[in-house]
Symmetry: C2
Subunit: 226 residues, 2 copies
């Protein structure tokens, strides 16, 4: 028996998977408010699938943490208070430090060129005034170290965390119109990733993430929706 493919989901072959992705997109596009209750009948009708199919997708999104399932009470879109955001960022920091430790010795010209390309894409989006694309591009940039690490569990953890981050960005975007990644914000990141000191890279990660969190936190004073 051979090892399963590195991307367990993304198959999209089955209706449940397509439903999962469509529902996730619906959430990540900002159509729903944090804490909102998702009525199974209503959502199923909206996506034109049966409740059973929708429920399987919802179980999966609950496992990721985008949805919160309460038995007999319903399934709700997650909320994002400062504590949640702090957890997401601190966890993300630890995870990405692990990823760099694992990928460090696997870097080569090809993979580093790939990293550079991801950064260029990000810069393009920012230049073209495409905040949604910029967010996606930044995610893709940060995925680099996880993919290179070849560590399945690590990559899966990141894949699980990512939608929650995207969700925050979507909310942020919706509330304040602007607020994606900044120009040249990843210059030092790229530079250190090309360098010789893993310790410097790890230290910078702390700074990089803390800065991202702070940039992000100062908008969170307004109320957190119901």
């Amino acid at each position: 028996m051979t090892r399963q493919a590195s991307s367990p989901e993304k198959s999209g072959d089955t209706l449940k998977d397509r439903t999962l992705e469509r529902l996730q997109k619906l959430i990540l596009t900002g159509n729903l408010n944090p804490g909102a209750k998702l009525l199974e009948t209503q959502v199923a009708a909206q996506l034109d699938v049966s409740r059973a199919t929708l429920r399987e997708a919802m179980v999966q999104l609950s496992e990721i943490g985008l949805l919160v399932y309460l038995p007999f009470r319903g399934t709700f879109l997650r909320t994002l208070d400062p504590v949640d955001l702090d957890e997401i960022y601190s966890f993300r920091t630890g995870l990405e430090k692990m990823a760099f430790q694992f990928c460090w010795d696997k870097r080569d010209l090809i993979s580093l060129a790939d990293l550079q390309m991801r950064n260029n894409k990000l810069c393009d989006c920012i230049s073209n005034n495409d905040p949604y694309g910029a967010i996606m591009a930044e995610m893709h940039l940060h995925s680099w170290c996880y993919e290179l690490s070849g560590h399945t569990l690590l990559l899966q953890s990141w894949e699980r965390l990512k939608p929650n981050l995207q969700f925050y960005f979507a909310m942020h975007q919706k509330a304040h119109g602007r607020g994606g990644p900044l120009h040249e914000s990843h210059d030092k990141y790229i530079q250190l990733a090309n360098g010789d000191s893993l310790d410097d890279m790890l230290d910078h990660l702390e700074d990089h993430m803390r800065q991202g969190l702070e940039n992000t936190m100062k908008f969170l004073d307004e109320r957190n929706v119901s």
Copy 2:
């Protein structure tokens, strides 16, 4: 809206949840072989639930990684080759290092006494020649830092990883009759957790885990079941 309880699952109130736990127990008890196909009809009949209910539970176990879902092909019990085991252990090491960083300043007399109790429980199980209990007790011991950290994401990650570890122990036990944790294996762990140096604790974690992995790896030469 208040924050959801720290233990999202464990509700067991609904049949799906009870089914999930029973199926997990079935797996963790060693009744199934790695890579074995789980026929929905058969398992549903065995657990006396409908397929729809079983499928929701299976989706959840697939998300944890205990099961591997292949669209239209079936759902299979995970396999455990040396690469998998290495990933589990290295990921666990990184996770637990994070946990100790987060919990370090939260230690107090009460929580440290709790840690001591968990170790005593472990020693009791070993003395009483209760390998299954010892495995559970060791897990519980290691859960201490995650719980104390108060970091939801971290704890969830550990809770997701745990069944995979337990599964390995179950297989190990089944194949070689013996092989739970050893007496006094956690003495230094406890000692350092009570100490003043976080760095020493983190260093020891690497050793502690590596030793656990090696103790464990040397039995893996036999074939990996079909």
